[in-house]
Symmetry: D2
Subunit: 429 residues, 4 copies
């Protein structure tokens, strides 16, 4: 079933179809001059997908405030419908990533069935031990998997195991573990003992991981902990994956690094040492801003994909990263942001595909720094939008998803169905 | 009236009184060798105070979660009592800074009277246009004082004027304006038009400022806006104070700057150009972490006070900064953190007072970089705790405020009186 | 006269001329659909120029080492020839900016004449008080214009006046003052006194400035001073321009800011307050890396030009910025880097010209954050290379300047004429 | 033999001896109250030493300029004499770390003998493949151990082996490898291939390492490479040490990290995984500023030593770090800076020794964040100068090394013996 009438999409597509054909043809000529087959790029883009996080379709906020929009999803079934709109229009987001307990339901089979109806699969499961839930016995105020108290650690372990069990029913094949554990003051926690406890707890979870699953640990420099974080960077993250075993991999969130860090280099290192698990895509200017992917530094996103495509095309051993968006939509319609961001990810992928890698390799070996960086820039500045649009069109998506979405009146429709949420003034400053 | 029995304080003081006398005497000798009169330092410290923010006595949190403690204050009257404890034990926090509408009450005179009873004055008023309140007509989602919509700007102006009116009743003499206005994406707002609208709105507020009041604008690099912030740095802040007039000054929050910025130099510039309004003290490692003052980089705090004392002792023209703590206490008892932080501020002040400024001036003029920085370091590494403790003792405070507080059982008492708050799981990620 | 035979350029152009015509035509159609006249953009790009710094044509280095290339220029006459190559091929760099005393010659009229012959004008003069020259009487080790010693300040003032005198002969109309003054340790210098001395010294220079000249002060966060810098940011820079008078303006070097700072916002503020003097273009990832313009974050460069074009097209009062490249070419042929960078500047200008500003203004006023940023992104991802190439071709430049340059054998020729420079091992670590 | 007459030292010590005794006695009482034996601390401080880098006794500079002082050392024998002064006065720097080829001499046995005469041992050997030397066959412009050219890599390998051979004669037991390899532009180098070549080259060097030697790899985020660096962070550094084997360890330079990074946590991780090789101590505010240790953020230095002492006192398996200063003295007398910095290192060590670790452990386990950080702060704010001074005095050093040095007239003496160096104006901008 579809959330938006195909007639609406067709009508929107019709308006720009001829222009798209002309642009696609011309781009095909341009790429042909460079020895690139536009059809090959289009097919790869069409086969590419990025998961949408279930929590991404609700309006996000900061510790200062949250300004909800109209038609906020009430539960996972509402969220799935919003995700289906994104996938219908972009044809780039075939799966949804759930967060437990936010998305917990009694009827898991019903949830799976609803996903099937909407044409959505279930990506990695996300556990939550960075908040206290209403009925929760022990608090995570001073840590979860690294808590000094063994019972609290066990509670957090059990929750992760529960996430695996839920995921098994839904067809998920991975568990993502992000914790907020850390400290706010020098001295508050003992770095080595905390890390030992964390590793021990993760090993307990790892034991429950099915053979065809993977476990992703995610590092983050700071926030919610403001002096030290247990899994603070890719160095610690690598140690975790190494200690746990062959099913353990590192997840890279683009916003979780120190200022100025060369993220694409971290990606390369993790690929080289066979521990890249996947990505949480977003963009940022200051900290973990969780802005829309590619909105602040699109070239950086391209450089990350340059590494990914290099690994893909050279068939790097064990290379199979999971891709997910992870953003906070505070001032936009979340559906529009997620569609736009999914397309930005596809765009970076397409641009990286048309890099002349043979020439690049020659410049690298020959010390021709200028032509090497010009080779990347040339691919980056190619406007690949016609390829993305044609891939969408051929899969019955929208040439211009935002226009089609606005034309459909979907937001107005759900605004009438879902109760309005009033502004939250948290008072946390 | 006092919140804690003097008997408890006396008993605690008695335990360490003799040691304090010995330490104070020895420190007096050490300082005398350097030509510094310990009594002069002690008197200055005793006369020094820093305001406590009313919201600081509640447990803070992040966008991910808040983990409340026991005995959370329910309203401004509870908050005042907690503030009174801090002042009773430290004798360093004689005033409270209110936040409207969080602290709004119908009976303002009753509030003023309660402050009087508890020996607390009212410092600068803080307005709030970074959140939407339940009955609020127009949303601040896209800005308040800089909003493109004139009616929304007027609503924000009116709120600030209301804050002045409330403050008049309470005896406050200043309004602090911090806004969250800005944008999350390049293009979202027009920098110049936004700033023009902001300036125009501030001028409207300024017109309502009583002659003996000051208005403080506060800059912040980012958060809650993640691409641009209307009052993003001291440069913009200075322009505001200059455009508004002689009653307008710049407020410096120690956590609101870009990484690596030399904050003490900004303080110097604002003093030199007669626009330093005051401080929000806290500490940080990554962003606006709002950690306890002096907990991360105590030397930086000292260097700020080195500028303040330099201005004070040289009678810099127009120098009269307001001092306030502004912290978020996520993992500690807020009362303990605020007491400790108030003492850290006093400590930095005392250390700056014992700098040999005559020698320092000579080294600066003579290009003796090593002896210049050693002169500051020598003052910084002097343990001035005996001076602070003696100043507290002589004003009937506690030699060791945290010990006395814990001995008093105050937290346990209010935990029994104030209802427990359950953990908040915001789900904002 | 021309440094490279037109025949070489023609032959190179011939190879890609047909493709350029096709690309230009198609781009014209694409832009026409958006209501943009490609000819208007091309004409503006053709009329646009950026100055080349004389020191940029030599290989740069770091404190660790310098690795010279072949054919390093020996003096300003060699440098002028290299600059003429850049201008001949790109038609985007009509002027050269000199650095005194590096470019000092006895025969100024001869220098002027040589510039005329090569078709090069003389942009802003750059003074140098951050180094000690062989016969210099007083050292700048502890500062120049802010030195505690009056005689040293006078020496630095006199040098700047000399730069003005030289510039008068050459036809320059501006003096750029960048100093390295600052301190390496807390306490080493007194912030306020240093700034007072600096302002006093600048006023002395300002008095000698001809009526039709401008003086540019340039801020920089750090390096060579590593704790404080006298002109550390745009806030201090604005104060300087304000104190000096109407001929004083602020220069923005893209690499001289704290991490994460929103530079385009600073540009907007300086335009709004009529104090933007101009730019030193380059790019950076970590500090003042002085990398090739647009090589690290091309979108940031575009956002700066978005502000410039907004001001240009709205005829902002007093808006007349000077544009110069300021880069260090450590691993590339400097001529190739400067050509590429000049084209990147033109590219950002062209992209900013095609932004749909009317639509953008509507989105900004209407709170449509997503369409606002998409409006900028759409312009940015347009490949405007055909416009730049056509503008070059029509002015007898090269469609592909780097290819033409390599085909010309210019570097090999000068390598034979100019003596080889051996590697420098400074030993400064 | 001694460089400075003991009579001068005695006379200086006499002036402050009585005050020191009084201060030491009082501090002894203070520490006794806390259960700490001052004699135990003093003995540990007395036994502690940090190596001085041979290049540190010359005046440093930046890419902009170098401002030499008087009496600059001409060669390693001059440098050894300056180092002997530092050790004589501070009794905290018993060894010197050499840099090849800067310190290369024909008569290695004579060098060893001179060290013995001056009471100086030889610490880790430092190789140099970040510069080209006059007679060098192949350039390191595009890398050394990671160069695409095998012959260049071999040249760099051979140089490192030569350093080992020299070190064997001198009694060194470690080789420190820091390279400048990296890239200035995206695309310039292939991350994975570069790292593979580096690892292969390091393995060749490792094969030549004597059984009782260690090899230290040193990471650095950037400079001299400004886009990517082959050994960019502790994550890559750990991978290197792991790949090489049990004699390979990671060296941590305090200035080689991204902004805001929690360095003490990295130290803890490397200790936990048995790969901490040692330190290059210095301080910084912006980048790799190489300022005097403890001059910018003394609390951070203390927190690093808090980790080291925790490991020392708990007898962490395989814990045996090497300690060296690595600073650039641009505006001070290098001898004075190195003496002061050596004392700062000892100070941080002493402060960390008096932390109440039993209480701290209890607070950490019990979630008492406030008392935990106060426990560290209490130790940090203790003025341990009397302990350091007494340790120096008892070993015939100076109570106040800088005063004694200035009284000795050593700098004036060598200024007369060593030819003046004129200011260098590199012209590298």
């Amino acid at each position: 079933m579809t959330m938006i009438s195909n007639g609406v999409i067709d009508a929107e597509n019709e308006k720009v179809h001829a222009a798209l054909e002309a642009d696609y043809d011309h781009l095909g000529e341009v790429l042909a001059r460079r020895g690139v087959d536009i059809g090959w790029v289009k097919d790869k883009v069409a086969a590419y997908g990025v998961a949408v996080p279930s929590w991404g379709v609700g309006t996000g906020g900061t510790r200062f405030a949250r300004f909800p929009g109209q038609g906020e999803p009430r539960h996972i079934f509402d969220k799935l419908e919003d995700c289906a709109v994104i996938q219908q229009l972009t044809r780039a987001t075939p799966t949804v990533s759930l967060h437990i307990p936010w998305d917990k339901v009694d009827d898991l089979k019903g949830l799976k069935q609803r996903g099937d109806e909407l044409g959505l699969g279930f990506d990695a499961m996300n556990s939550n031990t960075f908040q206290d839930q209403p009925q929760q016995r022990l608090s995570y105020k001073y840590g979860s998997l690294s808590n000094a108290n063994g019972a609290t650690r066990q509670q957090a372990i059990d929750h992760n195991i529960e996430c695996i069990e839920i995921g098994k029913v839904l067809g998920s094949k991975a568990l993502t573990v992000w914790i907020g554990d850390g400290s706010n003051f020098p001295g508050q926690s003992h770095f080595a003992r905390s890390f030992e406890r964390y590793l021990e707890a993760m090993k307990s979870i790892y034991k429950h991981l099915p053979d065809d699953w993977r476990i992703f640990s995610e590092h983050k420099m700071y926030e919610p902990a403001f002096y030290s974080t247990v899994v603070q960077d890719w160095g610690s993250n690598y140690l975790i994956a190494q200690e746990l075993g062959p099913k353990a991999f590192c997840l890279v969130d683009l916003g979780h690094h120190a200022p100025n860090v060369n993220i694409e280099m971290i990606v390369s290192r993790l690929i080289q040492f066979k521990k890249l698990g996947g990505f949480h895509f977003n963009d940022s200017k200051y900290g973990d801003d969780d802005l829309d992917t590619g909105s602040i530094d699109p070239y950086r996103l391209f450089l990350v994909f340059n590494e990914l495509v290099d690994a893909e095309l050279s068939h790097a051993d064990g290379f199979d990263p999971a891709h997910m968006l992870d953003q906070s939509h505070n001032v936009t319609d979340p559906i529009e942001s997620l569609m736009t961001s999914a397309m930005e990810v596809s765009r970076a992928y397409a641009q990286a595909l048309i890099v002349d890698r043979e020439a690049l390799g020659g410049y690298q070996e020959g010390g021709d720094a200028l032509m090497a960086y010009e080779t990347l820039k040339k691919a980056f500045r190619t406007d690949v939008e016609p390829i993305l649009a044609m891939a969408r069109l051929e899969q019955e998506g929208a040439i211009n998803p935002v226009s089609a979405y606005r034309a459909s009146g979907y937001r107005q429709k759900i605004a009438g169905e879902r109760p309005a949420v009033t502004g939250s003034g948290g008072g946390i400053v």
